[in-house]
C-alpha cells in the first residue's frame, strides 16, 4: 500500500479514537483527512482507512461514493462543485453550468451545499460562491489564477 497518513493526521486519528465508541465512527473523518492530504481518495487510502477503522474496505468505498464531496480521481484542474439540488436548479444552476463550460475547470455536480437561501451556489476549495449569475461565474473563475 502506497498511502500513509502523515504524522499530523496519525495524531488526529489517535485523538479522535477516544471520542467514539467504535473505530468505524472514524470513517468520515479519515476520508476527509485523506482528501485534504492527497487531494483525492485512492483505493490504497481506502484500504488503509479500512484497517484503521476495522471496517471492510467495501463499506469505506460505499461511504466515499455516497457523498458527492469526496473525490475518487486525481486531477490537475481546479474542482468546481456545482449544486444540482432543487433550489439551485430552480434559481439557475443550469446557466451556471453552461457558463463554466467556457473555463478550464473540472465541474462536479453535487448534492445540496446547504446554502439554498442563496441559490444558485458553487463551491471551490471549501468556499461557497452564492447568488451566482453567468457574469459572476466568469469573474470568480478568472480570479482563481
Amino acid at each position: 500500500m502506497s498511502f500513509c497518513f502523515n504524522d499530523a493526521n496519525v495524531a488526529k486519528i489517535e485523538a479522535l479514537k477516544k471520542r467514539y465508541p467504535s473505530a468505524q465512527a472514524l470513517s468520515l473523518p479519515c476520508l476527509w483527512m485523506v482528501q485534504y492530504q492527497e487531494g483525492y481518495i485512492s483505493l490504497d487510502a481506502i484500504d488503509v482507512i479500512a484497517e484503521v477503522t476495522d471496517t471492510p474496505a467495501m463499506e469505506i468505498y460505499r461511504v466515499a461514493t455516497f457523498y458527492t464531496m469526496f473525490h475518487l480521481e486525481p486531477t490537475t484542474q481546479k474542482r468546481v462543485l456545482v449544486c444540482k439540488t432543487l433550489s439551485c436548479k430552480l434559481c439557475g444552476s443550469d446557466a451556471v453550468l453552461e457558463q463554466l463550460k467556457k473555463h478550464d475547470v473540472l465541474v462536479e455536480h453535487v448534492e445540496c451545499l446547504g446554502s439554498c437561501g442563496t441559490a444558485p451556489v458553487m463551491q471551490i476549495d471549501d468556499v461557497n460562491y452564492e447568488n451566482l449569475t453567468p457574469t459572476k461565474v466568469d469573474a470568480i473563475v478568472e480570479g482563481l489564477r
Binding site: I46, M58, Y61, F66
Partner: protein
Amino acid sequence: MSEMIEIIVDDKTYRAEEGSLLIDLLIREEIKVPYFCYHESLGADGNCRMCMVEIAGQKRPQIACDTLVKSGMEVNSKSTKIEKVHTDILELELINHPVDCPTCDQAGECSLQDLYMDYGLHDAKVTIVDKVKHDKKVDLGSNVMLDQERCVLCARCTRFTDKITHTHELGIIGRGDEAKVSTMPGRKLDNPYAMNVVDLCPVGALTSKDFRFHQRVWFLQSAESICHGCAKGCNIYIDHNKMKYQDDVIYRFRPRRNDAVNGFYICDEGRLSYKELETNRLESMLYDGVVVDEHEAIAQYKSLLTQYQGRVSVVIDANLYSEEIEAIVAYAERIGAKVFAPLECYNDPSFADDMLKSAQRAANYGAIVKMGLETNMPSDAGLIINFNHPTHFNAEAEIHFSTHKQESNALLLPMAAFSENSGSLINEVGLEQWCEKAVEKNSPAPTVLSWLEKVEG
C-alpha cells in the same frame, strides 16, 4: 423460546412466538405478501417497502418485515387501501426498470414479474428513452453477471457477502439514481459460495454465466436430489429438460432449502458438479478397448468369474445409493467374493470449510460407515469387480462398472449416474436422505440393480 401469543390477520386468528417477525408468520401461513428485500436467512433490511400491511391503531401502513408480533395485534393485508400502497410502491420500483423480460433469464421465476401481475398492471409513465441507463453486463467474477438496470437495490446480494460469507465483496455504491451494486474497482466477487447470490436475487439482475441464455426456466423440470460433491448432503433441485429430438440433459443444480443440512445454500463446486454428469460418460461396453455387445460382455464377465472363482474382490464406490450397496454386498456373498469400500481416497481436507463443505468427498459416506464395510484396500485379488470406485487397484483381472470413460483394457460396463436413478444416501452425520430420479436418457445405461440381474441371469 418466548411465549406463544395470538394475533389476527385478515380476520383469522394465528399463533406466533411473541416478538417474532410478522413477515415470517405471513410467509409460513401462506398469506400473500409482496416483498423483495426480506429473506429468511438474511433477516430484515426494510429497504424495498413492498411488504406493507395495515395494523389496527397505527396511522400509516407498516412494513411486515420489521414488525414484531404482539399479543392481540390486528393486521390487514388485503384492503383496497393496502393494495393501492403495493401498486404505488411497485410502480416506483419499476420506474427505471428496462422491462427486458424477453431476453432476461429470470423471466418465469422473477418477483418483479410476479408482483406486477398481482399488483401492477399499470402503464409506464416514464418512457424507455427517459429511463436511467446503467451497465447491463458487469462480470462480477465467480460466474456471476450483473445487469445494473434490472436491479431493485434490495441488497440481498450484498448482505449475503456481508453476513453469510463475511467476504464483503459486494456493496451498493453511489446514491439516488446513481446507486448500483458493485465490487470495488479492480476487485472481484470471489468466494466458494458466490453463485448463491444468483438464487437470492429476486429479479434478473444477477444471473449465472453458466446458465444464462441456455434454457427458459419454464421448460425445466425439477427433481429433488442430493449433491454428490461431499458427505454434507446438501439438498438440491436437479433442473433438466429433454428438448425435441435431443437427449434429456441437466441445465443446473439449485439449492433446495433444508434447515437441518444446508439451509438455503450450496457451494459453487457442488452447484457446477452437474457438468460431470454430462461429460466424458462411458457409453458402450468395452473389452480390451474394443466395443462389445451385451451378449459378449456378459459371456466375458461370466468366464472371468469362473476363472477366478474364490479369488474375487468387489469394490464399492461410496457415492452409490444405499440400496445399490446392499444389493452388491448380497451379490458378493452369493458369489463368494470379498467386499471392500476404501474411503481413504475421498478424504480431502483442503476442500473442507466451516460453512458446508466437508472433507469427506463421498455422498454416501455415512452408509459405508453404518454398514461396517471393510474400508481397507483389497489385497492380492485375482479378479476385482469395481463398482465405480475412483481408485485404481492392482489385480490380475478387472471388471469395471463405470459411469465415466477410463483408460483400461479391462471389461468396462457403463452404468447409470445418480441423476438417472433414485435411491437413498446417508450423510456424514448419519442423516438419511432420498434422491429422486431426474434424467431419463434416450439410451439409458443400466443401473447397478439391473446389471446385477443381467450378470446373474
